[in-house]
Symmetry: C2
């Protein structure tokens, strides 16, 4: 009877970990992680995801279905597109936890950054707290240098949208009497690096914020979010 009981405990555990492994398996492909990373910025159509990842549309579709089967993403129709998004903030937290675990333990990650983004040595990135200090005392302007639709989906409270691609043509509108803080998708996105490089080349006092929208939200700080009720209409 004690034996029977532990037999059935085993069956319970087997089923429990098998269910949780559905999520683990969904995280087991670099392409799917890239998709999650993009979706953490804003919802997107299959086509948009294919363009950004340089993968065939059919491949992206299949990966999205795997993510959907693990309930990590949601789909909705809009027009003739299907728009995928993270199932919840819980999924964003999972992705951030995975990334942080990598940062903590995979030396190769650090190596990648020093190899590919060597200019980061020059100027330190601002932490959330440092940025808030500057912003709350009016000593800095905050720029969201991501594409406009990501800004529309969700952005930091005091941010102005100025995609890095348009930055060069709008330099004259920027102030020279305060700091300029640029943020993008997060620590592995280069938009803010490029923005800071360009701004500094033109004599501005520019800094990169080390985080993006998902990390900001995870900290419990407020965001300006698109009314998704509206965005799903049409």
């Amino acid at each position: 009877m004690e034996y029977q009981r532990s037999e059935s405990k085993r069956a319970f555990k087997d089923q429990l970990y098998e269910q949780l492994a559905r999520i683990g398996k969904a995280l087991a492909s670099p392409h799917r992680l890239e998709l999650l990373d993009l979706l953490a910025q804003s919802e997107r159509s299959v086509e948009e995801l294919a363009r950004e990842t340089t993968l065939p549309v059919a491949t992206v579709s299949q990966h999205l279905q795997i993510l959907h089967a693990a309930r990590l993403v949601d789909v909705r129709r809009r027009g003739r597109h299907r728009r995928y998004r993270l199932a919840s903030g819980e999924v964003a937290r999972l992705w951030l936890a995975l990334r942080r675990t990598g940062e903590a333990h995979l030396a190769e990650l650090e190596q990648l950054v020093t190899t590919w983004l060597p200019e980061r040595r020059h100027w330190p990135a601002l932490s959330i707290d440092a940025a808030l200090e500057l912003l709350n005392t009016g000593r800095a302007l905050l720029l969201d240098v991501r594409p406009r639709d990501e800004y529309a989906s969700a952005h930091l409270p005091q941010a102005r949208s100025l995609p890095v691609a348009e930055l060069a043509t709008h330099l004259s509108e920027l102030p020279r009497d305060c700091e300029i803080i640029a943020y993008c998708r997060g620590p592995y996105c280069v938009f803010a690096d490029e923005a800071v490089a360009l701004l500094r080349a033109h004599g501005f006092r520019a800094w990169r914020l080390e985080v993006g929208v998902p990390e900001w939200q995870e900290r419990g700080l407020p965001l300006i979010e698109e009314r998704s009720d509206f965005s799903w209409q049409v």
Copy 2:
């Protein structure tokens, strides 16, 4: 040149996500998740893990090496055993984030609990806050009903060790004039359920704490931890 630049960006991203996928792949097996779950309680030898998971030792060893290659676990020799443990609290947070994502989105998980642990309907589990309230006002006794070595590795500040297997023979030592709160490995562990059932059958006022040590620690609350400097000696 713009083309070249985006080509090299792609190479960077490919390498980035490939590195992070090392961690995702490590999470892609139910057995490895069970190993992480056990290691979140306390370090263990290969043999102990094999016994608890009812897997062949060689299989456990191989899974541990996969976890080690992804830097999720550490090994050290002690005597003629090798003791594995989580690489850091970051890994515990990752595991908890994965589990929570499952709880949020996998209906099958909830179904499993109602099927296998139907007695949970009878009495609600205590939240951390509810338990702290009772404990700080001296109205409850806290029991750690896990095996003794897990208690030794780390336990909640006010807890007394009384493994569920020994509970029946120590009933006379327990107070009848206050609440008794039992905790175990966490929400999917049955030790506390069994303890509460036994205690209630004998007229005690017993409750299950809904969390275990990893969740307690994640909340930033203090633990009593074994001096690992000592434990590695010998």
